[in-house]
Amino acid sequence: MLFAVLYVVFIATTPDEFGNGDWRTTNFGAAINDPGAFLRVLLDAVTFAGLLFIVASGFSLIFGLMRVVNMAHGSFYLLGGYIAYEIQQWMNPEAMGISLQAFQVSTWEWVFPLLVTVACIAAFGLGVQQLLLRWNQGQDLRQALITIAVSVIVADQVIAHFPRHVPPGAVQFGGNAVSIAWPGWTNRFVDLQLFGVEYSLARLVMLALGILVGIALYLWLYRTKTGMVIRAGVDDRQMTSALGINIQIVFAIAFVVGASLAAFGAVVGTSQGNVAQLQDGQWLLYSLVVVIVGGMGSLLGAAVGSLLYAIVFMFSAAYLPTTGNECCTQYSIVFTFVLMALVLAFRPQGLFGRAS
């Protein structure tokens, strides 16, 4: 927290220059001189945090209950993105393998791919859990290695088979970047009435979806019987099953929900950006950083971790020197490391994690 605040203060003192610039020159001016740009970057960060939260909360849920570090979480995301693309292309045959634009897509043509994708990935996740992980319960590292093996196979199979809809006459390159479109009504800018900023409605929808997922997870975990059992399982697995609760069913439910969240995040992420090979590793990194910073298995930790990481990510991308002598360099990844190192130096279990 302190780090993030200091960082923003540092940025706000960066003077704005034009031309070739020096080490202080950034894409945007200082926040004081150009509050609109600052607000836009802040909104970029917060909306990106919504997407991060959707994906990382699934990762965190699976870990919190089952102590399974699902290294295939990024693979679920990758596969989900491509499945959503195929379904949306199948619903719009006139697209002919070219990624659709928002004005071509109705709400149903976005929601239906979402439902199918979530169902597919949930089934796949259930298969992985039942066939490969169930009988290894309690062997953390072995389960992590098993999911790494799954992720290697999925990454290669995705390149071999996706995307299936390609423009006629074009050569299919496995793992090419494709995207799906948000529903048409999101394709406009909202005037925020603040510093003259107009902001993309789609990105705000992304944030809203993240918040909705957060609220739904909260209500599910803290206001229902299943949620109560899951929280009991997080605290004491053996005692919960000794009370006559079938913990295996609870594990299966948690894994299915975790995988579904990866798929949901994939549909949202593919609508906003695209999906391409190697993004499985990227999303695994995002999930890892979020839960390492926020703390394992904590809903609030996942939310705060997403927010912190998104802020560091977006602000360092926007406000670090990128012109002139420093051309084309992105140092933002260094700050990801600094964020993690700082948090771990003071709290090895993450901000909201409980000591084991």
Partner: protein
């Protein structure tokens, strides 16, 4: 003195392997020597740094590939020269190759010290995740910082090897022997280190971190130093890999490379150092055979490339024998002599100790 028959057999095999390794240039053709054996020695050393941490420190580190890559990048940036006939990427410092070599090793060891300091208070699965993050960050760092190389590789590192190393571009036999000597020294160093007081306390910490802490051992310091030693070994492997490849690119520290090194270590066996080179050799031979045999349009029926094959091999090893090939070997002996008594070697994957000292 009556010797354990298993130890004697292993010593015999070890001497046999060493003799074959020394005579290898006379036995194998050039392709096998360079593409299979040299590569297996180099990556086996990287895997050995991983297995050293897992077998004696209870830490499965996925940052070793990153450290190899950092050593390669450090060397590449220091030795590469600008101007006519020079390289185009990196800092192009054009320093003396010997100085650059030493500095690259030193720098990488220092980076390992920092990584170790950050990770030393994390245990088990947390340690694995944290080091994986270091690895991915290393990859993205070199990919996005254009001054240090950027996405395209720094080439020509093999042309600027120090004088005592010689011409590694043309004399590949020489490079093989350099890799062999380095691997042997690394193996001997690890075997020596685990018998020192430091190594013994490290193993105590692996088994019982809480008890070791209450006995007065500084647990994070020991783990950090072990990580630094492993980082030095990885740095040597990284420099050798840079000479062998002739170049470094962000791919050498990417997620695929990280997983490949882990697969090598797991195939060989995470509990014993010997497994590192065995696993690397098995991985590279499988990779070579698969590349030769898989048709251009992918595997029959399921499609995909070598990665699908190695993914299933990896899955099978983890499901059947989490201790890899060395674990199978140990278990065969344990079955042979079963008249009660404990199994010979502890299983690395069965959690060392869940509790972390606070």
């Amino acid at each position: 003195v009556k010797r354990d028959p298993k130890t004697l057999t292993e010593r015999g095999i070890g001497v046999g392997v060493l003799v074959v390794a020394i005579l290898a240039p006379a036995i194998f053709n050039d392709y096998w020597l360079d593409a299979i054996l040299t590569q297996a020695l180099i990556f086996g050393m990287g895997a050995a740094s991983l297995i050293f941490l897992s077998a004696y420190g209870g830490m499965i580190s996925l940052a070793q590939t990153a450290l190899m890559g950092i050593a390669g990048y450090a060397l590449g940036n220091m030795v590469s020269q600008g101007g006519a006939g020079g390289e185009s990427k990196g800092l192009l410092l054009g320093w003396d190759p010997t100085v650059s070599l030493l500095l690259a090793l030193l720098l990488t060891t220092c980076v390992a010290l920092v990584f170790g300091a950050v990770a030393s208070r994390s245990y088990g699965i947390y340690f694995l995740m944290l080091t994986l993050t270091f690895g991915v960050i290393g990859n993205l760092f070199f990919g996005s910082v254009t001054k240090l190389g950027g996405f395209s590789p720094i080439a020509g590192i093999d042309r600027r090897a120090p004088g005592f190393v010689g011409d590694v571009v043309n004399d590949r036999e020489r490079l093989y022997y350099i890799a062999l000597v380095s691997a042997f020294v690394a193996y001997a160093l690890i075997r020596f280190l685990v018998r020192t007081p430091f190594g013994l306390s490290l193993q105590g910490i692996r088994d019982e971190p809480v008890r070791a802490a209450s006995l007065g051992f500084t647990v994070p310091l020991h783990r950090m130093l072990a990580f630094t030693v492993a980082g030095f070994l990885a740095a040597v492997a990284g420099v050798l890999a840079a000479w062998w490849n002739g170049q470094v690119s962000p791919d050498v520290l990417g997620l695929n490379a990280t997983i490949s090194l882990l697969v090598m270590a797991v195939i060989g066996g995470l509990a014993r150092i010997e497994g590192a080179w065995l696993g690397a050799l098995a991985f590279i031979v499988i990779s070579n055979e698969a590349t030769n045999r898989i048709p251009a349009d992918g595997l029959p029926v399921i499609g995909g490339t070598f990665n699908t094959v190695i993914g299933f091999v990896f899955l099978a090893i983890v499901l059947v024998s989490p201790d890899g090939l060395m674990g199978i070997w140990d278990r065969l002996w344990a079955v042979g002599r079963r008249r009660g008594g404990p199994p010979a070697v502890e299983v690395a994957l069965s959690e060392p100790a869940a509790g972390a000292p606070s």
